[in-house]
Symmetry: C2
Subunit: 262 residues, 2 copies
């Protein structure tokens, strides 16, 4: 069997943040499967391919469609925004392979996961350097995870002073989870803790807003928004959010006397 | 002042996992500053540049050198492996700008953070899909962070069933932290919990080993190693480590009857 399945991370929106390997994987593929919004970002890269698009909530269908195409001997790319392993398609494929008794690897179906720049790293870059210490990523979608589990993780991460990145803060029919999450975190962190609210980082319509734990609940958010809540040492200056690693505190400032800004 | 400072994430080792934007930033730069090991990976991309290399523990010097070059009006790239915001150079630069009263942005020093594929995403891709649910990144280096803080985070992440990625498990002079960390996690998670031990993912000398919480302490690790400890639902099959998102459990298996492997 000569088929191959690429599970490709496209990175955050714009093609300039896609890796060379992701581009190669698309070029080598005959079939490209993905959520239509992501496919729109890479139209000219896949125009000569068989493109199988589907809606947002069809993850299982997309994964199974891609697996079947690859098993028919065709080189197939299943695309994800960001990184395919972070709240994305890679696990869905492997769950299905396991469930169907399909062996991945040289003796079965060749599968290559092509990592991409995750949305959280793009949001961090856009804000400055908010993730720079230990951090936790938590999805607020209770579609597949009981809300009690999500609350437990929010509490644990807040209590241990992790920088916290919130994925999927809101969606159609999910409007209270973000407020509740910020409430839980505020129980363990100062009201003035900086919060970066980033929408569609590295895309044409990207936007960023610096808030605090006290004001973040009123920021406009959607499914494409990531919130990054600082730890107890995070600070903002100008339009930048920073979580220090501690070099200055430990080693002091290099380069002698202060320099004024020019 | 026409200088600009790029803080560039090179991604995991190999150039094929570098983004187009990272490559552009290097091309546009006159000066490239970085840790010599990373610079070795991009030699031919920077051969016509002024290259300022330094040793691993010289983060402050590297950041300050790059800031000064950019302030002298030169386009400068400060390079990091992986993503520049995740245990890397971006925060060091912003801490220094803040400390020195240098304004980033249009009215001061133009700074662009170019995100990259983080080491943890590369390790995840190499293992399969271990990160796919809520996860926490924790560095075991107590050089800048008190060990009590690290222990508190390990406990919290283990207790709330996060997938846990351990950075900097070991280095010269730090040999007991990993064993202690695994002990703490084992207090909250089954001994058979899968652990992926990945060294230098996506580099020529990459290696992966699947262990369990009971056996991981004896795996060979170094500073270039990341360990990914599964949550209570993570499983392995063949050479793959997977943390399910839960689609199968919720929606059942698509595609009708089981198919045998070919």
């Amino acid at each position: 069997m000569s088929g191959k399945l690429f599970i490709v991370g496209l990175g955050p929106g714009g093609q300039e943040h896609m890796t060379l390997r992701a581009r190669q994987a698309l070029q080598e593929s005959e079939v490209v499967v993905g959520y239509k919004t992501y496919l729109r970002h890479i139209q000219e890269l896949v125009k000569d391919k068989e493109v199988l698009a589907s809606g947002m909530t069809k993850e299982m269908d997309r994964a199974w469609t891609a697996i079947q195409a690859a098993r028919q001997g065709r080189v197939t790319a299943l695309v994800s925004g960001g990184d395919p392993g972070i709240y994305a398609m890679a696990p869905v494929v492997f769950e299905l392979l396991h469930d169907k008794g399909i062996v991945p690897g040289p003796d079965g179906l060749a599968v290559e996961v092509v990592p991409g720049v995750p949305a959280v790293a793009a949001a961090g870059a856009f804000l400055g350097a908010p993730l720079s210490h230990d951090f936790a990523c938590i999805s607020l979608s209770d579609r597949l995870t009981p809300w009690e589990v999500i609350e437990k993780r929010l509490l644990a991460a807040a209590g241990a002073d992790f920088v916290i990145a919130l994925y999927n803060p809101k969606s159609k029919g999910r409007d209270w989870q973000l407020g509740r999450a910020l409430e839980i975190i505020a129980g363990h962190r100062a009201a003035q803790t900086p919060v970066g609210v980033v929408r569609a980082a590295m895309r044409a319509d990207q936007s960023v807003r610096l808030c605090t734990l006290a004001t973040a609940a009123s920021a406009p958010v959607d499914m494409a928004t990531i919130l990054i809540i600082g730890n107890s040492n995070s600070f903002t200056f100008q339009d930048v959010m920073v979580t220090p690693r501690g070099y200055l505190a430990k080693y002091g400032s290099p380069g002698g006397e202060e320099v004024g800004d020019e």
